[in-house]
Amino acid sequence: MGNAADQVFVILERWLVGHAPAELQPILSSLLSVIALLVVFASLFAITTILERKGLGRIQNRYGPNRVGPFGFLQPLADGIKSLTKEDIVPHAADKVVHFLAPVVLVVAAFSLYAVLPVGRNMVLANLDAGVLFFFAVGSVMELTIFMAGWSSQNKYSLLGAMRAIAQMISYEVPLILASVTVIMAAGSLSTVTIVEKQAGYSGILPHWFVFTPWGFAGFVLFMIAATAESNRSPFDLPEGESEIIAGYYTEYSGFKFALFFLGEYLGMFAISGLGITLFLGGWTAPLSFLTWVPSYLWFFAKLLAMIVIFIWVRGTLPRLRMDQLMNFAWRFMLPMALLDLVTAGIWHFLAHGIARWILCSLLVVVPYVLLGRGLTQGWKLEKRVYRFAE
């Protein structure tokens, strides 16, 4: 339990903090953790931008950027220099205070989401009793900043983009929170540390992750779809689609503020994938019981990288959803599925261990999925579709 490689950062922090006088120690400890989080996730942002551009390029049968460093890996540096040196244009009619505050508040909110994610064993910044609730509370602040950005530009298209973004985000918050509630029910606590610890056991070599149960798998899929919509990421990026509404709510931002929006969006994406990993994929626990010697923070970041790869893959594959398709999907498909998932999780908890509850819960998840899918796409005819001319 806790070998040296696993706890190396904890030991390092305790050693560094031990040099300070006793009154300053809590502040210094928090400060060190905050600095570490800022550095790690900002560099992850830089790496993700280049990975995404090269990944999307390869998916689209082209190279990504390949001029700046070896195979283009210094491109984030070039992007950073560009965004820092561009002229900061503020529209004449814009509301200067709100225009300035919007990206700042977004980045502050996005960074504070990482406080409750357990990055490794004993490595969480704030072990809050209501960690998951804190996460969703701060996430909802991010929506308000998008409104601030859209409105302060005094641009009809920005405002329209901001309204659409807010509508999308509040619609997808409902399945997001309901999917998390299934995990909270199963773990019995809102604290992220407790949720990860509940998933830390192994039966044979397989872990007790919540994603390996029928309700957990459905919950994970729902959570990831809602997470994609919450971070305004393809295929849900209508509010910021480059070919739709120019750039939506951040049309009027240039230079560093635009980079801050980008940063805020990507940080939100990492944070919500981090929450998904914590809730469903066992946080920092290893996937197979004989792999526990690998340090816990490496597992967390490996899973986070896998999530990022999946986000990039989805972005390269699916076309953008139209606003009404998006809203229909949230309210008419995901919400009923999330509610059924909640019921399934409850039934799972109260049935005895064994094959019976696997079969019952799997049926409870799969059958409504198939029927609801057929019902919504075929106008409430629930038979399997037979094509007249395509066979």
Binding site: G55, R58, N61, Y63, W313, G316, T317, V370, R374, T377
Partner: protein, 202 residues
């Protein structure tokens, strides 16, 4: 079932991603400054003046007839005739251009000058990387810059160069045949009544 098409889409993009590392037809990008796409033979960019042999001034085919200058739609050609004559591609003494300027920034590559030239003197080149930082004279080419050898013409447009050479060879043969018969006709009045001398003139 809902999601089936999405799953197939994912498989397709994954295949694209991994295939782009292995198969050349999945990644068709040409890395521009280092590699170039091959150009077809009929590529045309901007005109050049053809010269035969080694000396570009002596071998220039252009006789300053100014037909291309008159036919050019944006009027980017400027010609000044010379005062003296020099032998042209087929051997006849002709005027030659003292000044021949083409404003390449105006030229629209329509090839009309090539089509109307009766002397196979102006042809289209295939060079397009012509950016210059000299705003006022960099794209105004004079006679020296425009002249390129027939060997270059054969390299960039082999079939057209072969056809052009054939036409010029034919013209040359006609001129020489005329010169021969003119020589024969001229010989008769200068040396009358001597039958043996008639056959000896060349």
């Amino acid at each position: 079932m809902l999601g089936e098409g999405i799953a197939k889409g994912f498989v397709e993009t994954a295949r694209n991603f991994f295939g782009s590392y292995f198969s050349k037809d999945r990644l068709t990008t040409v890395q521009f400054p280092e590699e170039r796409l091959p150009q077809i033979e009929a590529t045309r960019d901007f005109p050049f003046l053809v010269y035969d042999g080694e000396d570009w001034q002596a071998g220039m085919r252009c006789v300053a007839c100014q037909i291309c200058e008159k036919e050019c739609p944006p009027k980017c050609i400027y010609i000044e005739k010379s005062k003296d004559k020099k032998p042209d591609a087929v051997g006849k003494p002709q005027f030659y251009p003292a000044v021949f300027n083409i404003d390449v920034s105006v030229c629209m590559s329509c090839q009309i000058c090539v089509e109307v030239c009766p002397f196979e003197a102006i042809k289209m080149d295939t060079e397009f990387e012509l950016s210059t930082d000299d705003r006022f004279g960099g794209l105004l080419w004079d006679k020296a810059e425009l002249s390129k050898s027939n060997a270059h013409y054969r390299k960039v447009h082999p079939t057209d160069a072969a056809a052009s050479d054939a036409i010029l060879a034919e013209e040359r043969a006609k001129v020489e045949a005329k010169a021969k018969s003119a020589g024969k006709v001229k010989a008769i009045p200068t040396s009358p009544a001597t039958g043996s001398e008639v056959s000896s003139t060349q």
